[in-house]
Symmetry: none
Subunit: 110 residues, 2 copies
Amino acid sequence: MPDNKAKTLKPASDAVEILHRRLYEGKPARLKNLEEARANEEIARRIQELRAAAALTQTQLAKLIGTTASVICRLEDADYEGHSLAMLRRIAGALNQRVEIRFVPIRRSA
Amino acid sequence: MPDNKAKTLKPASDAVEILHRRLYEGKPARLKNLEEARANEEIARRIQELRAAAALTQTQLAKLIGTTASVICRLEDADYEGHSLAMLRRIAGALNQRVEIRFVPIRRSA
DNA sequence: CAGTCTATTCGCAATATTGCGAAAACGCAA
DNA sequence: TTGCGTTTTCGCAATATTGCGAATAGACTG
């Protein structure tokens, strides 16, 4: 590690405090929510795309994964914020896909 | 961490993968569960990797996202199956990452 | 050895997501 | 217009995930 500062015991928690401050000062909650909202919107659209590509109705897809059409509709709603990994996997499975999850670094332009 | 197998890397898993593919070929349900289990394991490991790379303890990361260490520990447990998109995003956000979700086609049968 | 930091496990309450039916709205074609 | 299939919205129960403290175990140091 390039950090040559003496590793005293206390500074660690202070650093966390600072990080915490930076996290929420540099990146306002509303901006974070915006990005999340857009991500959810994309998921919803993708589900609809895949279902359409498979030529299935909401009811048909619902039956494939053992639920009802209203649930599928909710998933395809761009404003829905409750996407879970479990549900995405069920959808993907029925559509012959798999869900890939990646953590990618955010490049924060200085 | 009593479970040290998380530290083993991929090399040996290829053979295991082949064996499992032979055993479970034609049995989608079980294969699917296996893949899910492995995916969860990978997520858990990834979270731990990212946290370690950020030089944070579970308690520190927990505070960053407004929760407790036991929750982080649970997320890093390879056997945990309750990963949610919401939580992954909170973790990612605190670690300066974003969660990317992709649906990728499964090529069934080999 | 004691002391400290870290990680892990357990239990239960609080919150979030899903299940599911019903009704209404939409699109389209006869 | 009607009829039919599809989609959307709503409400609530059922299930799943999270919050959180407390207790335990492990690693490391003096």
